[in-house]
Symmetry: C2
Subunit: 407 residues, 2 copies
Amino acid sequence: MKAVEGGVTAAIGFQAAAAAAQIKYKDRTDMAMIYSEAPCSAAGTFTTNIVKAAPVKWDQDIVYHHQNAHVIVVNSGIANACTGAEGFGYCRATAAAASKALSVPEDSVLVASTGVIGMQLPVDRIQNGVRQMAASLSGEIEAGTAAAKAIMTTDTEKKEAAVQFEIGGHVVTLGGMCKGSGMIHPNMCTMLCFLTTDVNISKELLQEALSENIKDTFNMVSVDGDTSTNDTVLLLANGMAGNPKITERNEDFHSFCKALNYVNTFLSRKIAGDGEGATALFEVRIVGAKSKEQAVTLAKSVVSSSLTKAAIYGHDANWGRILCAMGYSGASFDPEKVDLYFESRAGKIKIMENGVSTGYSEKEATKILSEDEVTAIADIKMGSESATAWGCDLTYDYVKINADYRS
Amino acid sequence: MKAVEGGVTAAIGFQAAAAAAQIKYKDRTDMAMIYSEAPCSAAGTFTTNIVKAAPVKWDQDIVYHHQNAHVIVVNSGIANACTGAEGFGYCRATAAAASKALSVPEDSVLVASTGVIGMQLPVDRIQNGVRQMAASLSGEIEAGTAAAKAIMTTDTEKKEAAVQFEIGGHVVTLGGMCKGSGMIHPNMCTMLCFLTTDVNISKELLQEALSENIKDTFNMVSVDGDTSTNDTVLLLANGMAGNPKITERNEDFHSFCKALNYVNTFLSRKIAGDGEGATALFEVRIVGAKSKEQAVTLAKSVVSSSLTKAAIYGHDANWGRILCAMGYSGASFDPEKVDLYFESRAGKIKIMENGVSTGYSEKEATKILSEDEVTAIADIKMGSESATAWGCDLTYDYVKINADYRS
């Protein structure tokens, strides 16, 4: 497996485009389209919020009940959430426009939105955007990058990745793009991720691979504890790599899962490090756990703690906050057996041993915590399971972005 | 029932004192003592965090396994959490000093600490403080107020309240003091509350009254989602009002519960409104719920949402964030039936009806949200249960206080 350039257009047969449809932003692109020359199997995972945006409901129907998908249309600026029957109608109108422009079935058009909750989409502009993008689709790397830029909201950089690996002598490519400051995030800043691959795989196994992988990747990202109404990960596979079709959980399936994990881990870390207002990526690793579930619960509790995040912003080795967040997580462990380390490019330091301070050097700890990627590692000495979660520090700018957003 | 002046010294037979023991702060008091002339029944509720500070473990033993309590010794500055056997030994040493100075049994001395996690207490200074306070105890209102000031950390004002009511022709008094920015709060800013009453009541009913009431009061406060290692509410009753002893859940018991609810609600609102960095008290009321549990889950989810709190700071009627936080709470409801209102001294406005915007005036909404006490009311139209939670807005100063704390 090797990393390659590009994102959603890296795999064979995928094209992309972007448009400035003036949905809410001025002077920038705000729509993206991903198109496959061949019909695709589609897998998807969606927000667990019971307040689901209209496009989430639209896509769930297609992913769960239809065999093929052909196109994804995305807009930023307005989330199309809490918009009732009118909002759902705009999903259909968007799909209808794409269906007509690209001669594909209406029920093969996936849609996704990100932006303010409660406003209705300007559907005329959306439909104009769809027509404009259908006419300018391209398989070039730059077209994928333009799409990745168009879906940004408070993101400060576009996020894309791609890898190549071999199955049965055939080169297979998987690429993707995403946006957002976390699956746990502002209402304007939904986590959206679109993955494309030319692998030949059954729809069932495609969904299994995705559902299993997001537990270790996107579901381990936390920016602010707020789970969006719009979170969506879509994975399209068009089979154009020509590999023998994957229909069982064999070695080929595991090769694909490994590639999927690489791309999703890369994109998850990108989201966490670009969390709203963040100055640092904060990684939390729990080792020595009795079960995976225990490790996940502890890692997510620490990475979500406002106090711990504020301490990371202050480059302050305030380890008591980490132990405190583990303690209220709901997972059981013995606080008096925990060892804790901080690690970054600047080094690694043992802060706590068996639940009490090691008498470490505050100066050295602060140096380690002053890097832009910082890891806390807690060993709870109960077994051999582990989990890693990603978040970011809590800063003035997070408050500024979210206090001022709509005005 | 009527509100009266004072706090922990309002009830008959209670005395208090404060001392500047130089535990961590300079130029201010940092220890408090509450003493009852007669032995008391003690009730207590404690943090659910499995990382429990040494004084929590010490007090749980006394409250659960001993009949009488006589004294409470509190320090601010250091939390005595994650301090192992050494830290627990300092609880005993503190109790021993109070036992000697006041001629009371060692196991009738409750202790409480708030401050940085992981540092050991300077026990000599603590013991000096105990001796100094034992010699300066007073039943005056001012002595209670001095104690309330000594236990402050990032609090910007002292928090105390007292009420009087009658039982069987006897005037009974209940008073209390507390500190903290929430039961959900910084590790330096534990929620501590000490209540004193001269009511004559059985130890069992005293505990029942407290355990039931905190569900509606302190457990409904959230500042930042971090449950402390030190949270403690202690309630001492010395029986000196001379009322016929309350030994069953009769009218007298309910009179006492009503008084307890008044004092605890007052103190809970004080904690929320004085949350770290807060500019506004944010109250969330869920009405029309099917069950109390559902209402509590929804109210706590909204009051804890970082995004909603940031919007309150910005005086922004960003109602989508409220519906979003209800949606990920884990409680079930129909988003398309929800009505939402904002209310404050400046008026009341209906923002959303049956899940979609009412087309309200943003200007009027901003005016209502610009007060220093703001309420959001969501009617989910499923039944007649309700719940109220209290929190505060999320501000630059919250980040500042918690990024810079230890340095």
